[in-house]
Amino acid sequence: MTATNNNAIPRVGLSHLDHLWFQVAGTLCNLTCHHCFISCSPHNDFFGFLSLAEVKRRLEESIPLGVKEYYFTGGEPFLNPEMTDILVLTLRYGPATVLTNGTVLKDEWLVRLRAAEELSVYALEFRVSIDGFSPEVNDPIRGEGTFARAMRGVTKLVEHGFLPIITAARTWPIEREQEVVGSFCKMLQAAGYSRPRLKILPTLQLGAETGRTCGYAPEERVTTAMMEDFDQSQLICEHSRIVTDRGVQVCPILIEAPESVLGETLVESQRPFVLSHGVCWTCYQNGAICSNPSSGDKDA
């Protein structure tokens, strides 16, 4: 971090590239969620797909840098026709996590992916986004009928032997967290997922979410004073980068910000990033919002 004025905006360097993300489906999604932080939709082609060849090139590039884990997001990754091949390939390089809405999964893909994971020493994690334990809570955010469709996806994953991590954005008051999480688990168990895994995320006041809430206030920014005695490894930009069809960008959340493009190569992208966005403040407040619980990134 380099700054001297306490109110100045801090810069954070990459300590090591632990997590390499891929914006593998660009901004194309079959859903149009009201809280999506990059406004993905069936018509948003602002960012394009990454091909299997491009992912392979990046995986090779990542080896000398010692990347620990690979993450795939979109849009909806499984709209990319090469997604299954991409995950099968990635499992030769390291652990893979794919963030999906669970609504387009096909049995034949899951059979192939389960077999690939079985052959690999590495884990394939599915993170399925659902935003409430009933259609009444989920569907107003994610769209009519999406709760039932996502739950069918979860059931399908479980039937194929996966243990998906159900990811929900916290669209309820924090005081109700325990009750909501408890209901969530009961609902999943009733649906046949006997040992549900959950990850609760804060909402990010970007993209479509700014219409649902109100975006960030000017004072909701990280300052140099706030970085004193702060464990910087809690910030995604301290240990991650994301490959998009524009190059290598700082983090999965800020891809629409022009200054988030840090270079064409992974090595170029290792330069520090200025935490000038409101969403950096959310990342600061919550810590490790993008990684899996098994990474141990979340400090106690």
């Binding site: 990347v67 620990k68 884990a123 999480v181 899996n292 141990g296 106690a300």
Partner: protein, 264 residues
């Protein structure tokens, strides 16, 4: 720097003084010329003060685990970083019990443990740490740690063999230039495989730079440990793990592959 031919490496003890005693006897029988611990003397088990005399009697050097760091510095929690309310509930019960039952001199001893230990094993340089060489509470699971990341750690920390614990499940991987990464497992609780015994690791130097890694199962009187835990009113969920070999708590941090191998 100390030089050895055969060393016994004990992962988290978690106050399991009965398994510790059994492992010590076994390591001596197998001719270990030094015994090291990779941290977390307390947690989970009964009477945390009972392990300290064994450490002193057998001159066991230890690195500082996250639990040792928390107890030694009287921090608010164990720094395991759970987010699941159920996991946090059990983690807190265990932490409060361990804190209340670790004497001030033993807390001070934990506080002063080093974050890493290095020694020579034949021609190989060995580095012992708790979570990873860069972060005490980093989880390095077999299924979520790429080989290129381990190569990076070995380069960065200039060690031929890096050994850790923290996750509770043993594993090893061969790296380039005869280097190795070894998670030594733990003595504190069984490793979620339905069998009640626990594990330690024996590292031996060969004639060249070759290092042999042997994972040693340690049967011990787990019924007696369960009875002691019950007498101390520790949670039945913990006791069930000691008796059955299946983990019942703190499951959220397990990756899919490791979680699938367990019952819960």
């Amino acid at each position: 720097m100390p030089e050895h031919r055969t060393v016994a490496l004990f992962g988290g003890i978690y106050a399991n003084h009965l398994a510790l005693a059994a492992a010590l006897a076994d390591a001596q029988r197998r001719g270990a010329d030094a015994i090291y611990c990779l941290g977390d003397l307390g947690a989970f088990g009964p009477h945390p003060d009972k392990v300290f005399p064994l450490f002193k009697e057998h001159d066991i050097q230890s690195v500082r685990g996250n639990y040792d760091d928390s107890i030694g510095n009287e921090r608010a929690d164990c720094q395991c970083g759970y987010t699941d309310p159920r996991d946090n509930y059990f983690a807190e019960l265990s932490y409060d019990y361990t804190m209340a039952n670790t004497s001030p001199p033993n807390r001070a001893w934990l506080k002063n443990l080093p974050s890493e230990i290095r020694f020579q094993l034949g021609a190989a340089s060995v580095l012992l740490c708790h979570g990873s060489p860069r972060k005490m509470n980093e989880f390095l699971w077999e299924s979520t740690t790429s080989t290129q990341f381990l190569e990076y750690l070995a380069d960065e920390h200039q060690a031929d063999v890096i050994c850790n614990t923290h996750t509770g499940i043993k594993w090893q991987r061969d790296l380039s230039r005869n280097r190795k990464f070894v998670n030594v497992g733990v003595l504190g609780r069984p490793e979620n495989d339905g069998r009640p015994h626990v594990w330690y690791t024996l590292l031996s130097a060969g004639d060249s730079r070759e290092i042999t890694v042997e994972f040693i199962p340690v049967p011990y009187d787990h019924d007696r440990l369960a009875a002691e835990m019950r007498a101390e009113r520790l949670p039945e969920e913990f006791i069930a793990t000691i008796l059955s070999g299946w983990w019942t708590t703190c499951l959220e941090v397990l990756p899919a592959k490791e979680r699938r191998r367990g019952r819960f």
